[in-house]
């Protein structure tokens, strides 16, 4: 090589340019990915955060004995003959009375507009309240009722005067009245814990829809997945990695596990429908079936990282243990497994997180059903978080858009918590050798 070191020859220039270009591509890819993520988060949070706030009406309700308990015996059996229709009427009378008492001008709002300020769900809530505590009958209580979805939407910017004029479920006069009630302190928007605790509600009551059953259902399924896939997955991995002879059969099993991890999850749903529901006769929509299906789906995804973690333990540690006369099992239990633990736990939690977000297989085993009652156990019908999101995006009322986005936020929070736990466990168990 001849020539000055102070000037670059054409070859070096070309190489440097290629390197700059390559770095540029990489940087562009990262920036694009980050922008997409930021955009996704902004759109989800801006659409979903309102779901955690809700508009309520607070006013005195006189629980008239003549309406609610004609017999005067406070006998639950007799009282439960009074339907929600009577409670709804009571509520609309009470709100009308309150408006008159406060001297608020109706401003052209019809009687129907006044009645429809209060969600239909509130009548059912009041009825449950009274049946749970019959002593309330005859007294006057401060009752907090959900406002209907349109009124709620008005305070979240979803409903405007223009859209209300075209909407048969609301009217500009009703919205004006709502503003007056807000000034009077009867109506207000505040934090809504019900979103996390209430069950799902019907199409026309987005204001009452909550994630309670979906959270419980998802939790129960995760318990089933954890309890089944951790021991089965680890035992299978340890056997295949440490004990199994290397022959065509174990090669075949290995190839199959890799392939199973790539099988579309909906296929597991069909499998679960055929085996657990049609053949074994387990109930539909039950967390036990969902958990079993998700276990099948998660197992290969746990076995692969677990085997990788076992493989990563240096052979010198195995030699050392065998050299002092430890048996194969002692070598694995005392030395190999503890060293592989961080990798196994990380794989496990990532597998669980995938299972938590899985929708398709659950649709096939009936988890998409509308469930109003909280499950008492693994065999009762329940919902699941991702399926609830899917479900709400199908509904007509615009109030469900914010609910679906809110549910996605909850799901994301669960995933972030699980991944944080994975990182913490990894740090805690990580040992150097």
């Amino acid at each position: 090589m001849s020539g000055s070191l102070l000037t670059q020859d054409p070859r070096t220039k070309a190489r440097n340019a290629a390197e700059r270009r390559f770095r540029g591509y990489g940087l562009t890819a990262i920036v694009v990915a980050l922008l997409a993520l930021v955009w996704l988060l902004i759109s989800i949070f801006s659409a979903g955060l309102p779901a955690f706030r809700q508009t309520f009406l607070t006013f005195p309700v006189t629980l008239d004995e003549k309406v609610l308990d004609k017999s005067g015996t406070r006998d639950i059996a007799v009282m439960s003959k009074v339907t929600t229709v009577a409670f709804a009427k009571l509520l609309s009378q009470s709100i009308e009375a309150e408006i008159t008492a406060r001297g608020i001008d109706l401003g052209g709002a019809s009687a129907k507009d006044v009645t429809k300020l209060v969600s239909e769900e509130s009548a059912a809530t009041l009825r449950r309240m009274v049946l749970a505590d019959p002593a309330l009958v005859g007294t006057t209580i401060e009752f907090t009722a959900l406002a209907t979805g349109r009124i709620d939407g008005y305070y979240k910017g979803r409903v405007t005067m223009e859209s209300a004029a075209l909407d048969k479920n609301t009217s500009p006069e009703q919205l004006v009245l709502a503003d007056k009630l807000k000034e009077a302190g009867i109506l207000g928007t505040r934090l809504n814990s019900g979103f996390l605790t209430m069950p799902d509600a019907s199409d026309k009551r987005p204001e009452a829809a909550g994630l309670g059953i979906a959270v419980v259902g998802s939790f129960l399924m995760m318990v089933v997945v954890l309890v089944l896939s951790l021991p089965i997955g680890v035992a299978a991995s340890v056997y295949l990695e440490e004990f199994a002879p290397k022959n065509w059969l174990t090669d075949l099993i290995e190839v199959n596990i890799a392939n199973l991890a790539a099988v579309p999850s909906i296929v597991y749903g069909i499998l679960g429908l055929a085996i657990f529901i049609n053949f074994a006769g387990l109930p539909q929509s039950a967390p036990i079936v969902g958990g079993l299906v998700l276990t099948l789906m998660t197992l290969p995804r746990i076995i692969i990282p677990t085997r990788a973690a076992l493989k990563a333990v240096p052979p010198s540690i195995r030699d050392a243990a065998l050299g002092v006369g430890a048996s194969k099992l002692q070598t694995v239990l005392h030395h190999v497994l503890p060293l592989a633990m961080p990798g196994i736990l990380t794989g496990m939690i990532i597998g669980l997180a995938q299972a938590l977000g899985e929708t398709a297989p659950l649709l096939l085993i009936g988890m998409v059903a509308f469930v109003r009652d909280f499950p008492g156990g693994l065999f009762d019908p329940a919902a699941a978080l991702p399926v609830q999101v899917y479900n709400w995006t199908q509904r007509g009322d615009p109030g469900f858009v914010e609910r679906a986005s809110g549910a996605i936020i909850v799901l994301l929070l669960f995933l972030i918590v699980m991944n944080t736990v994975a990182i913490i466990l990894r740090r805690k168990f990580e040992r150097r050798w």
Partner: protein, 264 residues
């Protein structure tokens, strides 16, 4: 060199391990051919030879570490005090408690220094209580010439020691099960000259209690520490005899070529 080896010459002693027509196959590859060796008690036997000659393979046959390699097959007869170690009734776990091993790269467990040494006695149930175990750990660390350096930090991780200390810890771990034979597979190849000298000194001391077999690439080391030397070449045991005789008056021309640096 001659003076040194003359000094360490020993008298004829009882045979610990006896190999007769030992063969090792890796699949179809015939790695060890017809090896006949007698390992004497309280003697250091060195295996020397060029890389790939089979000396480590043969060493690993002596405590059946080759069992972990699926394609490996051993034929012929290897006995420990007259008992065939490849007899189907022999449990390799019991055998390895009697024949300890130290590896090429120091490989302490990622546990404390104490736990490293105590592991063998614990799994074999050699001690009845904590006090006895403490005693075993101390005496093994003393025998391994490590006690003074680590006595104040027995519960510090063994992996935090220097390379030479780690190797001596591995030796302490190997002798903690009171083995009869100690196999060493190039124990100094990852160590600096000072640590090597310490380990060599240690090997010489261990000879009073154990039969030691050492594989080494360094002919100087073989001459310094061993009384018997076996020279392996291409899977054959070329020559086996007194170290002094091998290094000063080899009978086989291949041995002479190797120790004078012409093959290897």
């Amino acid at each position: 060199m001659k003076d040194l080896v003359m000094e360490t010459r020993v008298d004829v002693q009882t045979v610990k391990i006896e190999a007769r027509k030992a063969q090792v196959f890796y699949g179809t590859n015939h790695a060890i051919k017809d090896v006949d060796v007698d390992i004497l008690d309280k003697t250091v036997t060195a295996f020397i030879g060029p890389s790939g000659c089979g000396k480590s393979t043969f060493l690993r046959c002596l405590n059946r570490m080759n069992d972990t390699i699926a394609s490996c097959r051993v034929e012929g007869k290897i006995t420990l005090e007259g008992e065939d170690i490849y007899d189907p009734r022999v449990d390799p776990v019991q055998l390895r408690a009697k024949i300890g091993m130290v590896f090429q790269k120091p490989n302490p467990f990622p546990k404390s220094i104490y736990d490293n040494v105590a592991y063998g006695p614990k799994i074999h149930g050699l001690t009845r209580n904590k006090a006895e175990l403490d005693q075993v750990v101390e005496s093994c660390l003393r025998k391994a010439a490590l006690w003074n350096e680590v006595k104040d930090r027995l519960h510090a991780p063994g992996t935090g020691l220097s390379g030479g200390q780690q190797q001596r810890l591995c030796i302490a771990r190997a002798i903690a099960t009171s083995p009869e034979v100690l196999l060493m597979d190039e124990p100094c190849s990852a160590l600096d000259p000072i640590a090597t000298a310490q380990v060599e000194e240690l090997i010489d001391e261990l000879r009073s209690q154990f039969s030691v077999v050492i594989v080494t690439h360094s002919m100087q080391q073989a001459a310094r520490v061993s009384q018997k030397t076996a020279f392996f070449h291409l899977g054959n045991l070329v020559e086996f005899g007194e170290t002094s005789q091998i290094f000063t008056n080899p009978r086989d021309p291949r041995t002479e070529s190797y120790i004078t640096g012409r093959i290897g």
